[in-house]
Symmetry: C2
Subunit: 158 residues, 2 copies
């Protein structure tokens, strides 16, 4: 393995570890359990999983790896706070979409070469990227891994 | 910047972002506020910060970058659950040790070349590392960044 590949391998392993741990927790929860808040008055588990799903789904176009699978999630889990939208996903849908997304991301991630991980992501212009080359796909992967861990910590409180 | 340096730069930026965010929260909390649990019956903020400090302090020997600064923290914040040890750190001590540790880690991290980040960490033997070269310093950095984010998510609930 080249040094470049060792770095992307480590980051992909860390992503996978966080993603698999979170999926395992999700699949162990019933629809009723998903309605519990992580702490009194705070977001419910279902909302946090939906929020993570929306953010992770958006990685596909952000990394230039394909179209959104579930753009409809944003209105429910990103634009609006918990308990304000009636059309939230039922447990079975959430679990199914979660697994589809996790599979799509993992497949797409593994098509990228180390050099492609260092290319710009689609939310930064060519001009800005010329000045700020750290705004690359790899930084998105690391940031989204931390985001997953951040909410996993909250989810684990229940 | 070489491709190798771009990868370590991204990981160090992500670490710094998580570390700085957590430090900012810590410094805004009073001694009284640090006694609050993140949720009813769960760990107190003071315990979570002490736990993170102990784990991060242990990165120095784990990465071969120096001796522990505060090995005494392990008995309080790693080996024992919250509310069982009388000798916890007061807010001022916690904040001071946090800043010292953050500074020591950041300085030490920045002495490593990309090739050195791919070397084995001290908890893996040479024989095991020959078979499992992914058990390197870089993997520890990514794992500890996720660990910081995981507990930061809990801390932010208060």
């Amino acid at each position: 393995m080249t040094p470049e590949a060792s770095f992307t391998d480590a980051a992909l392993r860390q992503w996978k570890q966080q993603a698999d741990r979170t999926a395992k927790i999700l699949h162990a929860l019933s629809d009723e359990q998903l309605q519990q808040p992580v702490a009194p008055g705070k977001n419910r588990l279902s909302y946090l999983f939906g929020h993570l799903l929306a953010i992770n789904d958006a990685m596909l176009p952000l990394l230039g790896l394909g179209a959104r699978q579930h753009p409809e999630l944003d209105a429910i889990y990103l634009a609006a706070p918990d308990r304000t939208q009636p059309q939230t996903l039922a447990a079975a849908e959430l679990k199914q979409q979660w697994d589809q997304n996790a599979e799509a991301l993992w497949t797409a991630f593994n098509t990228l070469t180390p050099a492609q991980w260092l290319e710009r992501h689609t939310a930064v212009s060519e001009e800005d990227f010329a000045r700020e080359p750290h705004r690359n796909r790899f930084a998105i992967l690391l940031g989204r891994t931390a985001h997953l861990a951040y909410h996993a910590g909250q989810i684990k409180l229940v």
